[in-house]
Amino acid sequence: MSAAVKSVGFDVERIRSDFPILSELVHGKKLVFLDSAASAQKPRAVIDAMVRTMETRYANVHRGLHWMSERCSDDYENARDKVAAFLNVAREEIVFVRNATEGINLVAQTFGRTSLKPGDAVVVSEMEHHANLVPWQMLRDQQGVELRIVKITDAGEIDWDDLERQFADGRVRLLAVTHMSNVLGTYTPVERLAKFAHDRGARILLDGAQAVVHRAVDLRAIDADFYVFSGHKLYGPTGIGVLYGKRALLDAMPPFLGGGDMIRSVTYAASTWAEPPYRFEAGTPAIVEAVGLGAAIDYVQAIGFESIAAHERSLTDHAMASLASIEGVHTLGHAQDRGGVVAFTVDGVHAHDVATLLDKQGIAVRAGHHCAEPLTHRLGLESTARASFGIYTTHAEIDSLAAGLRRVQQVFSR
């Protein structure tokens, strides 16, 4: 039915063939994987890069003088170069962490604990993932900084009037905000937010866990101070994520974890720290996973974010329209600029039941508060179901979702 909607120059069937898992059956049905915002599937290129490292050029990095260690260190540092180029920043500004969550905690516990004083304020928005809320609550409770929540509008956008109010007393030192909401799909206007914060003497941290998957991110243009994302949502491995920090900020930050590789020299009396990014990478890093992330970046860049964004735009439009056309199904998130996650409710059917009944048809969606409990309550809900899209998602899969939802409604009207 929707073959005609296919984006030009984007061969989704060829892309699907790169992802082994997409040919799996679930409950005897073809897998329709609409949960990429939680974690994306992995293309063969990523799997192969990891396997090749473990089979032919593996050893611990940095400390070795032998061939395997040198090659493996090259591969690991190459991955850092790829991330730096991907975000348009310098390699010294790229710290490898486990995931976006660790990246934000790192900033809270180093920058936060040294640069924020009691009385200073941190602002986050009403549509943050717990990863960009709980670390600031913990910092608040440890450090006596104030945590302020900027409102969102009913469409799901930052409420600029409220933002002005939150900053009015001049005590805000950090604005920590998502680049794309994992529930509402909203892209925030990050250049404008960065300028807003900087004009008021505050730093800005962006949670790019969702955004970085769907559009090209130029941190130099945005002028972000900190940026985080996770490899596993970008078609890369689990266990690897990225923290970007402006060089001058990283230079001034104390270490996060202590151990090997992050030191310059150690005596019992005192130790001195390595330069960034190494200062923040204590112990043996996720070497193979960093290499896999490099391969994932190569993979999406070969496809190109222009066509990825066009494909996902078209999927999202199709999904919003298809779901809206079903009576009793309500989609959430109506920002001007929104990406490929569509949360929805079904009248009279709990989101858990929706997810289970869809799963029985081979359709994977998520249900719950999506790690954004306060947002769910802000929307007046307890839980929602969510379909989310990736480069391998097809229009036909969205049609399956719509058909699946009609069957769910049937079960509940028997």
Binding site: A351, H352, L357, E373, L381
Partner: protein, 147 residues
């Protein structure tokens, strides 16, 4: 939709739509709440005793079909039972949810409708939540009687 008959059986759908024991019993002898913050499910149980046997039972459940029907079928099963009997039933129910094997006892004539949940690990909590709340209520009642 045959593929879900194992779970969303007629009895479950019926009780989810129109539960028999819903309400905020008053007066009552013991009450407790259970919640699952992951999905917002919440159950409140109230019971009244007559000579150490549960004489009346009501629940207020906000949750999925599994949770609501589980609370309601639990009501059928526990009225007229003593604390120790209920503890035993709760254990048998837990076991059924975990491994799908239906206990060979009369109280499970209806409760067995929930056996299909065992295949859905992430939904176990939905079925068990009302039983946890009931146990909590009974625990409080015990304290009250002893203290």
């Amino acid at each position: 939709m045959s593929e879900t008959d194992d779970l969303y059986q007629a009895l479950i759908m019926e009780r989810a739509r129109s539960p028999h024991h819903t309400g905020a019993l008053d007066p009552f002898d013991a009450e407790a709440e259970g919640d699952n913050p992951m999905c917002g499910d919440r159950v409140r149980i109230r019971v009244a005793y007559d000579h150490e046997l549960i004489s009346r039972f009501q629940h207020e459940t906000r949750g999925c079909a599994i949770c609501v029907s589980s609370a309601d079928l639990m009501g059928d099963a526990v009225i007229g039972k003593s604390g120790p009997e209920i503890a035993e039933l709760a254990e048998a129910f837990d076991a059924m949810v975990i491994d799908g094997r239906i206990p060979d006892r009369s109280e499970f004539a209806d409760l067995r409708a929930l056996a299909g949940i065992h295949a859905y690990r992430s939904r176990h909590r939905c079925a068990i939540l009302p039983w946890q709340a009931l146990r909590a209520a009974l625990g409080k009642a015990m304290e009250y009687q002893n203290g």
